[in-house]
Symmetry: C2
Subunit: 460 residues, 2 copies
């Protein structure tokens, strides 16, 4: 296949999301020649944002960071990117079955502070079921699940089945549905499409009780790809979707629509389903091929809505809310205190997304704003900016926040998730064993892939 033994690069990285950029940077710092190939017309993948006002940035992808996300925190510290606490002062709004209330507390799996305005019986149902869920979750290993016989049983059912068997009230049922749809334990999913084992393990290795949304980033997370890319110089090609990866004993050849590049190794840093869209010669092992058919992205669009000021604070509200209204189940205050502006981040997810995405653009906007007004009052109807990133419509990402595993995949195909195939290594937040689906997981897999390739390069 390769016509000569000349290798132009030590390693090619496919994908310029956070994991790919970290992998490329670490390889370059170790003195290796690298090239990054990116399909889109911009770098960053799901780490992507823009400035909407002085000192006010919005992130279309991830935006938060929490105290136990060591590797991502180290990255922020290294580049001296400052953070600020997520604005949480004030009451949380709860909108349930059309009834609006406020409470001094918060629930996202774990619950803090006051009970929301729901009957004691319903609340106890949710909280008791949550304890059972936690207990089962804590019985799992921190590493990728699927190897224990007991995992088979947990992987053969949907989370919807577990919810049905473990909650007695409508609220209890909704509480868990909301958790998996809005928060997601890795990739967000409808309870009826995700493996129970996947959700349990997600709560084990990326628990909300560790407060992964504790802080926000001055300047937005979207600035980070550019900062790393500056270090890489001109070693990034955008607008070059990789079509084919060939390998033999000598090296790899990576073919795009425009060019062909040779290297000793390649790191494919993208969601697993997307890695399955590349042609491989020789073909990948059967289990890896079938894994990429079974690793869908969550169904989620992110919406950023800005206002002249965080008007909710005058009402004693935190700019955070949750509930079962028609479109919005969760929103959070993303205002940078340096800007004076008010910014709400929210999402349309799962079943809601399907009904929402068939609307016209004005209808979509109006649906979201009137829902938000039900939580925060009519001032919500008059935003300064209204921005949407419809991740499921983006063919180079395919969904958000991240991917999830349907029933039966962990136990039968899980071994293929991170296993290199010859000269091909994998990266991307989805394959992390700690904080998968988060920036921290992306950093970890980028670092791990780079370290593995550096080791092989030095051994040869």
């Amino acid at each position: 296949m390769l016509e000569t033994e000349i290798t132009n690069y030590d390693c090619i990285v496919v994908g310029s999301g956070l994991s790919g950029l970290i992998a490329a940077r670490n390889l370059q710092r170790a003195g290796h020649q690298i090239l990054v190939l990116e399909a889109q017309d911009r770098i960053g993948g799901r780490m992507y944002g823009q400035q909407i006002a002085p000192n006010q940035y919005i992130d279309f992808g991830g935006q938060w960071v929490g105290p136990t996300q060591d590797r991502f925190l180290a990255l922020l510290d290294e580049y001296k990117i400052p953070r600020f606490p997520s604005p949480l002062e004030g009451k949380t709004v709860f909108l349930y079955n059309g009834h609006r209330s406020e409470f001094n507390g918060f629930f996202q799996g774990f619950a803090e502070g006051e009970r929301p305005e729901i009957s004691q019986e319903e609340w106890d149902d949710a909280i008791q079921a949550w304890h059972r869920f936690e207990e089962l979750s804590q019985s799992l290993p921190l590493e990728h699940p699927g190897r224990e016989p007991e995992h088979k049983r947990l992987d053969a059912q949907t989370f919807a089945q577990w919810i049905g068997e473990n909650t007695k009230t409508d609220f209890g049922h909704w509480y868990f549905s909301y958790m998996v749809r809005a928060v997601g334990f890795l990739g967000p999913a409808e309870p009826g499409e995700v493996s129970l084992l996947h959700v349990l393990w997600g709560n084990r290795c990326a628990s909300q009780s560790e407060h992964p949304e504790a802080e926000l980033i001055h300047g937005g997370a979207g600035q980070i790809p550019g900062v790393i890319a500056a270090e890489l110089g001109n070693q990034i090609q955008i607008n070059e979707p990789v079509v084919k990866i060939s390998q033999d004993q000598v090296g790899v050849e990576v073919t795009t629509g425009q060019n062909s590049y040779k290297a000793q190794f390649v790191i494919v840093a993208m969601p697993p389903y997307l890695s399955g869209r590349i042609n491989y010669d020789p073909p990948l092992p059967a289990t890896r091929q079938q894994l990429t058919q079974r690793f869908p992205m969550g169904t989620l669009a992110k919406i950023l809505i800005s206002y002249e000021s965080p008007f909710w604070r005058e009402k004693g509200l935190a700019g955070v809310g949750m509930g079962n209204s028609q479109w919005i189940e969760l929103f959070a205050d993303s205002s940078d205190p340096r800007s004076g502006k008010g910014v709400i981040a929210t999402f349309v997810m799962g079943d809601h997304y399907h009904h929402w995405q068939v609307l016209t653009e004005p209808e979509r906007r109006s649906a979201i704003l009137s829902d938000l007004a039900a939580y925060l009052g009519d001032q919500a109807l008059l935003p300064t900016t209204f921005d949407v990133l419809d991740w499921p419509a983006n063919p180079w990402v395919g969904g958000g926040y991240a991917a999830f595993l349907p029933p039966g995949v962990w136990t039968n195909f899980g071994d293929a998730i991170a296993t290199p195939v010859g000269r091909i290594h994998w990266a991307g937040t989805e394959i992390a064993e700690r904080w998968p689906g988060f920036f921290d997981g992306a950093v970890r897999t980028g670092e791990a892939a780079a370290a593995a390739v550096i080791g092989r390069l030095s051994g040869e």
Copy 2:
């Protein structure tokens, strides 16, 4: 995007499996200029076989046909391809928990003849559960499911859960697991990875009680692609994987690694997940994109084993068996009476496949033959030929027999399965509403796609 308005073809068909060939043929018969593009180095997709002895052919893909498969039967009649009854005379072998027995009967969902050597209690458990399954299945529509509110509930659980709740004995449990793994109701699946709704609907539109394996084809099904292709002349390009499909108001442009072709319409005739590997400009609707992330192929390899003669008949056996032995859960006699040879077709599926595919080639062969010997006696250890097609390892098919839907997909993404997108129409057995997963479904969707495009061509 398109530089000129010159259209070279009326329609390009991507994929030369049965559905693609039928679509191309019908378009050509209607007087249209067509081109078929095929990624592999041969035509036929999963309709593929070879000759192993005079008058004896083996099929690596589908091979059977049943009395209600109208469209496939019409095709065989049109090309005057003769059939013969599947050899079923003699006793069926049943190997369960290491115990071998013979019985004058057969079970594959529906049961015929004698009860196999299993306790009355266990048999009644399986049969009574089957009646409940049938009843629930018959309550579904013949067209694609997912639109009724009740379907949501059925789609939010795995078949494993239904089995657990509806069978009391180990045999009852195995009976249904065997059915979905070996027979598959469309694509074969492990009970713990497939939607209950999918399995119920599969039994509705492609029922084993209609005897879809009643007849075999003299010369093998694998001859058919060549017969149709002969009619198409040199309008088929093999070794040309399609990389990109662009469309605008004027037409489509189909780009392969080597060439670019223009046409008025394109029919993409392949398993849905595989259609998701092509880049589309403009991108496909979000729901279609996410559907192709959620439509995996079954995990199945097919094995054809031939002998000097059908030695089992001397023992009064039919050459058919089922059971829960280590590798083989189902096998069937595929001997052409014209040849005098004996041919057994069998499969390695689901969990069994995962343990089998990590073995060396000699180990794989020895595993299958020793298992078959436990059913048919030691003569099975000395075959004349032993041929395997490892479908999950083939990157241009990705699994066998066909695809299945995990929980939650029918109800949220089902609408996108067959809906054309602009100038792009879809074909392939997976998207059929009658006999999906079978040749008949392939013919139906090929005919339907051709008819739709012919209609649009004549309207312009």
